[in-house]
């Protein structure tokens, strides 16, 4: 793995995005617009403040999952991946290139959504904004790594898009966003315990409520980061130099 090739890959992915202005606009604006929508649906600042932090973690996860599974599937079907595998570039250069590029996109996305939520929608963040940003970016990288991994099992873009309800929606339902995790039955609670998004949402909620870095927060960060790394390794295992 080399820094030059990782950065070259990240630059290439960002250049691809730059040529697609509509996608850039949607990536930057859609989470913020949804936050605004949510605020007025609740029509209540304190209710909004309770649920908004979780969504700041869910949006980057969900969006990066979707765009990565589609982009990497495209790399597989247009044989650019096969070409790359014949060239002197490591699998990790490619994966980390994706992580850097989409991580940067996630930073912009979260900064805009957070800015709108704090200045206009009345969201209160007790802890550090940097910590919140870090968690949101980790969520994005986790979504990206999962998207990359499952794209190996998609035979078409139709299938790739439908992996979203399969791999992402259950995590969203069970992460404590709708019903606190403690109030779920033991089976659901147990499932929710092994899903990474639960920890991401818990961490982001913790940051908005508590000013200090708590033990829960640290544990959650470690879990999310470890899951992202695990998914990246699984993703690397699906990149093959030789194919049948």
């Amino acid at each position: 793995m080399t820094v030059t090739l990782t950065l070259a890959t990240a630059r290439r992915i960002l250049a691809q995005l730059r040529h697609d202005r509509r996608t850039v606009a949607m990536l930057v604006l859609v989470p913020s617009l949804l936050m605004v929508l949510l605020r007025f649906v609740f029509n209540n600042e304190s209710l909004f403040s309770r649920i908004a932090p979780a969504l700041l973690g869910v949006f980057p996860f969900l969006i990066m999952f979707l765009i990565t599974s589609v982009t990497t599937l495209r790399e597989r079907t247009t044989a650019t991946l096969e070409r790359l595998m014949t060239l002197p570039i490591g699998k990790l250069d490619l994966l980390f290139g994706y992580a850097v590029a989409f991580g940067l996109v996630a930073v912009v996305q979260v900064v805009v959504a957070l800015g709108v939520s704090i200045t206009w929608l009345g969201l209160d963040v007790a802890g550090s904004l940097w910590m919140l940003l870090l968690i949101a970016v980790l969520d994005a990288v986790l979504g990206m790594a999962l998207g990359l991994f499952v794209s190996a099992f998609a035979g078409s873009e139709f299938q790739a898009v439908q992996f979203m309800p399969v791999f992402v929606l259950p995590q969203v339902l069970l992460c404590g966003l709708f019903v606190p995790r403690g109030e779920m039955g033991w089976v659901l609670n147990w499932i929710s315990d092994v899903l990474p998004l639960s920890y991401a949402v818990e961490a982001i909620t913790e940051v908005t409520r508590v000013p200090d870095v708590t033990a829960t927060l640290t544990r959650d960060l470690v879990v999310v980061a470890a899951c992202a790394v695990l998914a990246l390794i699984l993703g690397a295992a699906t990149l093959r130099r030789r194919t049948p």
């Binding site: 070259a8 691809q16 040529h19 070409r83 790359l84 060239l87 030789r242």
Partner: protein, 242 residues
């Protein structure tokens, strides 16, 4: 293996989905020549090329390229490969694509310019690949394979859909590269391109029917043109083993 051999294939079997695509293929490709891989579509040309580049899972047999097993990591900078369907990013410009691949190959700074000129895409360097015509697209795809200093170029149908003048230019380029010591394996399903190769591998049904020079092939079959020579070879083979 002699120094003059770039590619050495021994007893190569490849099957895909239970169907034999290549059956006991044995061949050698000499250094510094343009070798044509000629045969109808579906005869296994692409699979053979993939095996030589080292991206094909092989059942039995050995493929040696530049003295190393095909796909060896040390070969990645020494072998250029252009797939038949373009494998470049449609949402980047021609120059952006080439700059990315040039960085990976650690090619010198002027290389992007050089290959753009070689494939005559100077006017389209800043055009998005998705806006290129079919012929321009296949030339952009070819340009990637020319980056750096490959010693072996494996080009899968690089001249499909090109106008005759451009096709002629590309064949001149191939011969110039060969004269400089580069080995080229170029596949085609049209016979008139076969005459431009120094060596021919005729393929059919996953097997090599003939491995000869164009003149040698004409002499051996007594046919005036290569299309006829190919036909006679097939009929002779079918008569022996129907």
């Amino acid at each position: 293996m002699a120094d003059s051999t770039t590619v050495d294939v021994e007893g190569l079997d490849v099957s895909r989905g239970g169907r034999t695509v290549l059956g006991s293929v044995r061949l050698r490709i000499a250094k510094g020549q343009v070798t044509g891989l000629i045969g109808p579509s579906g005869c296994g040309k692409t699979t053979l090329m993939r095996a030589i580049v080292g991206v094909q899972v092989v059942a039995v047999g050995t493929v040696t390229v530049l003295g190393r097993p095909a796909g060896d990591r040390r070969l990645r900078r020494r072998v250029g490969y252009a797939t038949q369907s373009p494998s470049i990013y449609a949402d980047l410009t021609v120059a952006e694509n080439l700059r990315y691949f040039a960085t990976i190959l650690r090619a010198p700074a002027g290389d992007v310019r050089r290959v753009i000129t070689e494939v005559d895409l100077g006017d389209h360097a800043d055009t998005l690949v998705s806006r290129l015509s079919g012929g321009q697209l296949s030339r952009a795809n070819l340009a990637v394979a020319l980056l750096g200093t490959p010693e072996l170029l494996v080009l899968d149908e690089p001249t499909v859909g090109l106008d005759p003048v451009l096709r002629d230019d590309l064949w001149s380029l191939f011969h110039r590269l060969a004269a400089g010591g580069v080995t080229l394996l170029v596949s085609s399903h049209v016979m008139d391109e076969a005459a431009r190769c120094q060596r021919l591998l005729l393929m059919r049904g996953g097997r090599i029917l003939a491995d000869d020079t164009p003149d040698g092939l004409r002499a051996a079959t007594g046919a005036a043109d290569l299309e006829q020579a190919f036909l006679r070879l097939i009929r002779a083979k079918d008569a022996v083993s129907p």
